[in-house]
């Protein structure tokens, strides 16, 4: 694995597979009575969140704590940024406190990459930068899909993934596209034209403005949140019209494949992206995504910080990726589970 995790391109197909395989072991830790391992004992991880977030920050902090790392939590609202300190100085100051990894979220695209130029030693994990990337969200989505395919690394090949919603302003969508495409899935973006990116040149995806045209074929339906706080609403006549055209209504839920997987990065706005009844259907795996988020982030932190120290805590540390997986799936068959 690379020194930092800034976006999915840092990983490539092999790197993604490695993260997913290591996640298997950490998912097992989460199921233990005492879900804690000493893997990162002595390491200090800082979460630097310059944008409101509850679930991602808590997910990362839980992941770090389950690995016995010390966690330092920094929220922009309570910080010296309010006193006029620059972002660069803030980040450099945090590192001076002896930090091994910085987990950073910022409303501006590119800040995670900029942080790597400002920091000398710390590993940087991008927990979401502007509209650009949110790699761990994409990884946990893929992990969830793979889990529903009995842990088959090859399950993505040929898988039909439809990503629905405000792709234009979505870092989640950009990372999902990169990850699914790298793993060989066939990705279609479905959005009103105003919420499509200005170009998808080089993305390796199809794009449509008509969700109903692609919904029935989808193996994975990945919904995005309409980000009212980012002004997505101004790109639409009304939320009502969005829901009518792109919402996963009860009517549309009847038309998806029975084995299709519905994902949502949260927070889910019932009645807009997804009808309230539909959100509770068994195909909708939002809670599973949240649980997997912790395990994926443990795997990421392990791969960035834990390498070379696996022997020290042998026995408690999850074993390195197991070469084989249980389950009746074929290696390359793209089995879709049931």
């Amino acid at each position: 694995m690379t020194r930092h995790l800034l976006d999915i391109d840092d990983l490539g197909a092999d790197g993604i597979t490695e993260v997913l395989q290591v996640t298997d072991s950490f998912a097992e830790v989460a199921r233990r009575a005492i879900p804690k391992v000493p893997t990162l004992r002595g390491k200090t991880v800082a979460t630097l969140f310059f944008e409101d977030s509850t679930r991602t920050r808590i997910s990362f902090e839980t992941a770090a704590k389950r690995m016995s790392a010390d966690v330092l939590s920094f929220a922009a609202g309570s910080s010296s940024l309010k006193k006029g300190e620059s972002l660069r100085d803030t980040i450099e100051t945090i590192e001076a406190m002896g930090i091994d990894a910085v987990i950073i979220r910022h409303p501006s695209s590119g800040v995670a990459l900029q942080a790597t130029r400002w920091l000398s030693d710390s590993a940087v994990v991008n927990a979401g930068d502007g509209w650009h990337a949110h790699p761990t969200q994409a990884l946990l989505d893929l992990y969830t899909v793979r889990e529903l395919h009995d842990g088959d690394d090859g399950c993505f090949r040929g898988l039909r993934v439809v990503i629905v919603g405000d792709v234009r302003h979505s870092r989640v969508a950009r990372s999902q596209v990169a990850a699914y495409v790298a793993m060989g899935a066939r990705v279609t973006l479905a959005a009103p034209a105003t919420l499509m990116p200005p170009s998808v040149e080089g993305w390796g995806v199809d794009a449509t403005n008509d969700l109903d045209e692609v919904l029935a074929e989808a193996d994975v339906v990945s919904l995005l949140r309409i980000q009212e706080e980012r002004g997505s609403g101004a790109f639409l006549p009304s939320l009502r019209e969005y829901t009518a055209e792109f919402g996963l209504t009860a009517d549309r839920a009847h038309r998806i494949r029975p084995d299709a997987v519905v994902l949502h990065p949260g927070p889910m706005v019932r009645g807009v992206e997804i009808a309230s009844d539909v959100a509770d259907l068994p195909n909708v795996h939002v809670t599973r995504q949240v649980a997997n988020g912790v395990a994926v982030r443990m795997a990421v932190l392990f791969l960035l910080l834990g390498s070379g120290e696996t022997s020290r805590a042998a026995g408690d540390v999850p074993p390195p990726p197991a070469p084989t997986h249980a389950g009746p799936t074929t290696a390359n068959g793209g089995s879709r589970g049931s």
Binding site: S86, G110, Q114, G130, W131, H132, P198, V200, E201
Partner: protein, 426 residues
């Protein structure tokens, strides 16, 4: 030896060219009078001093980024003998007192500073600035640069008023409602990088509008920093129709593309933004065929602490006075030198109203009787740009580490060598 050039000594006295060695087979040699300062231009070309139509000197208001003096030194080192200072200072140059202040601060600096006045009060696009009063102080060019005049009605009125005064309006073509919130060129790269884009239409809509207004009103208009293929096409068509339009392009818009933003380094953030490869090629063609009249730097200094921010929060702008010649000679190496001189001296001087046709001292020619404003360039010298060693008070150059071919060796301002062997003399 470059075609169209000849070898000759140039004798200067009292700020004027007295004699240019004749083409008589003796290599144009002249006898230096006793006591004369001899500047060695061996291996170099002697050009008319360069003229920059578009310089931000930041004084008054942001003297930490640049002062008239530091900017003037940077200009002289870049081979410029005249610069047009943009009015988006703080306070803006929209009043006689503000213009007089800059003129007096610029009196003893090593470049002639010509002030551009604002078109509207506070550059707010709502009320005409006192253009007649400013014209009496010598202002020939008016612009709200940094902002385009958004209201078509206001721009039309300003063009009429300017026509009556015989001055030129220079438009920063940017429709705010189209550009709003954008940090880079809208296209493949902005989509990938997740940065809000500024579409080409933000520029082109205003270019088209103002060409129509200028034609209807019968006014002259100058279009600042053209950056898109569509803008070049519009100006080309308008010139065929006889619209009195001139246009400029910057060295960065012919040498860098929007792919530079992939570093998220705000050094590559500028307005108008770096565009696609296709736009860069179109701007180059526009310069080659004369659709775009002039090269202008849009030298825009920013303090490091204001530039070292997230890309979308950093102010746009890059410095360019000291790298302009090198970038143009390196990147537009196919253009004949005579055309480079036209784009960087003769035509900008004419546009600014400071050329010989207006009784001004800039833009050549190098002939007896004309002002001794000269720039001596070594066309073969290669150098690597080190932003920390430039004379500008700011270091926000996008060319750090770039190897350029062509460097200013000496600059002569009204007969005084203000730069000798690449060193500022004051």
């Amino acid at each position: 030896m470059v075609a169209g050039l000849r070898q000759a000594d140039v004798l200067v006295s009292d700020g004027r060219i007295v004699q240019v060695g004749s083409d008589d087979g003796r290599g144009g040699a002249l006898e230096a009078p006793s006591g004369a300062v001899v500047i060695d231009a061996g291996g170099c070309v002697v050009l008319p001093g360069l003229v920059d139509l578009h310089t931000h000197l930041r004084q008054p208001g942001d003297e930490e980024a640049e002062t008239i003096e530091s900017g003037a030194r940077a200009a002289a080192l870049g081979g410029f003998t005249a610069v047009v200072a943009m009015p988006n200072t703080n306070p803006p140059l929209d009043s006689a007192s503000a213009v007089r202040d800059v003129q007096s601060l610029a009196r003893d600096v090593p470049v002639d500073v010509f002030v551009a006045g604002a078109i509207t009060v506070a550059r707010a696009g709502e009320r005409l600035a006192p253009m007649a009063e400013l014209a009496r102080l010598g202002v020939r060019l008016f612009t709200d640069d940094g902002n385009g005049v958004q209201s078509a009605g206001m721009m039309r009125r300003a063009l009429e008023y300017a026509r009556g005064l015989g001055v030129v309006l220079a438009q920063h073509c940017e429709v705010a409602s189209l550009a709003s919130g954008g940090a880079m060129h809208e296209g493949e790269w902005s989509a990938r990088l997740g940065l809000p884009g500024i579409p080409a239409s933000a520029e082109e809509v205003m270019v088209a509008r103002d060409l129509l207004l200028a034609r209807e009103v019968g006014a002259r208009i100058h279009l600042l920093h053209l950056s898109t293929s569509g803008s070049v096409d519009l100006v080309r068509a308008a010139k065929r129709l006889g619209v009195a339009v001139t246009a400029e392009a910057t060295p960065h818009h012919v040498s860098l593309t929007d792919a530079s933003a992939a570093t998220y380094d705000p050094l590559f953030k500028v307005n108008p933004p770096l565009r696609s490869k296709g736009d860069v090629d179109a701007v180059r063609s526009g310069l080659a065929d004369g659709t775009i009249d002039a090269i202008a730097t849009d030298h825009a200094p920013h303090r490091a602490e204001t530039k070292d921010l997230p890309f979308d929060q950093a102010p746009p702008g890059m410095i360019g006075l000291e790298t302009a010649v090198g970038v143009v000679l390196t990147e537009l190496a196919d253009l004949p030198l005579a055309q480079v001189v036209a784009m960087m001296s003769t035509r900008p001087a004419a546009i600014a109203g400071i050329g010989p046709a207006n009784g001004g001292a800039h833009g050549g020619p190098i002939a007896a009787g004309h002002a001794a404003n000269l720039c001596i360039v070594d066309l073969e010298a290669t150098w690597v740009v080190d932003p920390s060693r430039l004379a500008s008070r700011s270091a926000n150059s996008p060319y750090g580490g770039r190897k350029l071919t062509g460097r200013v060796r000496h600059t002569v301002l009204h007969g005084e060598a203000v730069v000798i062997d690449g060193e500022a003399q004051r």
